[in-house]
């Protein structure tokens, strides 16, 4: 029944080599900075034979390395890349890889710049010192705080509201000195700063009274608008 159908034993080896599952692999040779795509024929879980589909050599090792790591992240597409690369070659793939990598790098750099600008702005804002009224239960305070923070680093407390108002009459025209107060606080601590502020307030009150500008009563600096 079979006329010339038998095959010779040498051809049989080729047939054995041909059978099996096929997959594509990208490999990097770091010594020569060469990337190659290989068709790997595997049988029973072991690779049996492999054929190069394409290879490409780069002048710089890091170019090849970054391309290779980009390809490693896209393992699911190797089958398509291999099949398509066998037909049309790797040029378009490599161009796409290069543009995507440079785009990725650009966006990373953009993010970094944005982050740095944000940090710089926060730092600049922290250099400016603000003052806010703070109320604790039954106590009245005035604080000093850095820009962008929601809590003061220094608070001066009063028992009564009118005490704070008296202090505020002096405190408000001192806004240009807040940074100096903050520096003093850094050097001498909160207690010394409190003493200094109250002493300065009383000294100003005396001076203003002597000049005849005091309003008297509980808030002698009520109508004082600071020194020229």
């Amino acid at each position: 029944m079979r006329d010339t159908a038998e095959i010779d034993p040498s051809a049989r080896e080729d047939i054995l080599a041909g059978s099996g599952s096929i997959e594509y692999e990208v490999r990097l040779d770091t010594a020569s900075s060469t990337i190659g795509m290989f068709r790997v024929v595997g049988r029973n879980g072991a690779s049996f034979a492999e054929y190069p589909v394409w290879t490409r050599t780069w002048r710089h090792r890091r170019h090849a390395a970054s391309l290779f790591s980009w390809m490693l992240d896209k393992r699911g597409k190797w089958l398509l890349w291999g099949r398509l690369g066998e037909v049309v070659g790797p040029d378009r793939l490599l161009a796409m890889a290069a543009s995507e990598i440079s785009e990725l790098r650009a966006s990373q750099a953009r993010d970094l710049l944005k982050k740095r600008a944000k940090a710089r702005k926060a730092k600049a804002r922290a250099l400016k010192i603000y003052s806010f009224l703070v109320d604790r239960h039954g106590e009245f305070g005035i604080d000093l705080r850095r820009g962008g923070e929601d809590k003061g680093f220094f608070v001066i407390w009063f028992r009564q509201n009118w005490e704070r108002e008296r202090f505020r009459d002096w405190w408000r025209p001192q806004a240009h000195r807040f940074a100096d107060f903050a520096a003093f606080f850094e050097e001498q601590g909160p207690r010394a700063l409190e003493r200094k502020l109250l002493a300065e307030m009383q000294e100003t009150e005396k001076r203003v009274k002597l000049a005849g500008l005091s309003s008297g009563g509980r808030r002698p600096l009520r109508f004082w608008r600071g020194d020229e």
Binding site: D3, A5, I15, P52, W54, L79, L84, G89
Partner: protein, 302 residues
């Protein structure tokens, strides 16, 4: 590890083009046994057994989007090693999918890669006893059934025969096809019109069905079901589009120099055109890919 310089030989030709059958290499087989009483249609002379010898079809076929097809071919060839066939052959397949176009695409692709002729048989249009081996003779003329004619006209003993429209065919047709593809019965199949015994054992059968459970029992038990259709995974969809593009290139005699740049855009798909196409059913996909590639080839020409 060192990498040898790759030979960028036109490997794509192996994928895209039918290997020419060289006369001296092909094994042959005489499928007709004895001498017929009537016309023999040349079947008494040896027919070629075509196709790439073995499982390199499983590698080159590039049809990973049909789940199980590559494994089926590889396993089939592993089984075939004992039989030592050096030509293309696989066990009968049921292509389970939505449309005939899809089945035709798969069959065409396989025929193209394997290098065997493809014959499409519409079972829905056959007379109820067209494939009968015996029965009362009526006055009408009886011609050999389609697979036999295909073998005779292609001068090939192992064509792929794709059976379409089985759902609309008479119930008896399914049973008769089962006797033609049964590995034992097909070796000695009696052809009523030629009055001779014919060996159909090397025919590669594919039966398209909308649902494998809709097949008659005689076929269901003899066929290996493969579900075909548009895959969900985008990479698999692109593989399908690539296969369709190779099919279009072979049909329209397009050279890779003409459509290579257009085809290479599958890599990154800048306009999203390929991914829009990739969801189409086989018939529409063939049209769309054909239009796209012909347009690209013409744009290069002018």
């Amino acid at each position: 590890m060192t990498i040898a310089e790759a030979e960028l030989a036109p490997i794509w030709r192996n994928i895209a083009v039918i290997p020419r059958a060289s006369a001296e290499a092909n094994p042959t087989r005489t499928v007709m046994q004895g001498s017929p009483a009537g016309e023999s249609f040349g079947l008494d002379r040896p027919l070629d057994l075509l196709g790439s010898p073995s499982a390199d079809c499983a590698q080159r076929i590039g049809m990973e989007w049909v789940p199980g097809l590559v494994e089926f071919l590889a396993n089939d060839t592993r089984h075939r090693r004992h039989v030592e066939r050096s030509w293309f052959h696989f066990a009968p397949l049921a292509l389970v999918g939505h449309t005939d176009d899809e089945a035709r695409f798969v069959a065409r692709r396989m025929a193209r890669v394997a290098g065997v002729p493809l014959f499409v048989m519409d079972a829905g249009r056959l007379q109820p006893d067209a494939l009968r081996r015996s029965g009362a003779r009526g006055p009408e003329l009886v011609v050999p059934p389609d697979p036999v004619i295909a073998m005779a006209s292609a001068r090939c003993a192992n064509p792929i025969v794709l059976v379409l429209g089985l759902g609309g065919a008479a119930a008896r047709i399914g049973d008769d096809i089962a006797t033609m593809l049964d590995p034992d019965a097909a070796r000695r199949w009696f052809c009523r019109s030629m009055d001779a015994v014919i060996d159909l054992g090397e025919i590669n059968w594919m039966v398209a069905a909308s649902n494998e459970h809709a097949l008659p029992t005689s076929l269901y038990t003899r066929l290996e079901p493969l579900s075909i259709g548009v895959p969900c995974d985008p990479t698999e969809r692109m593989l399908r589009v690539l296969a369709m593009a190779l099919e279009v290139m072979a049909d329209h005699d397009l050279e890779i120099e003409e459509v290579g740049p257009a085809l290479a855009t599958i890599f990154d798909d800048p306009d999203g055109e390929w991914s829009r196409m990739s969801g189409l059913a086989a018939g529409a996909l063939y049209e769309a890919v054909g239009r796209h590639l012909l347009r690209a080839a013409n744009a290069l020409r002018f």
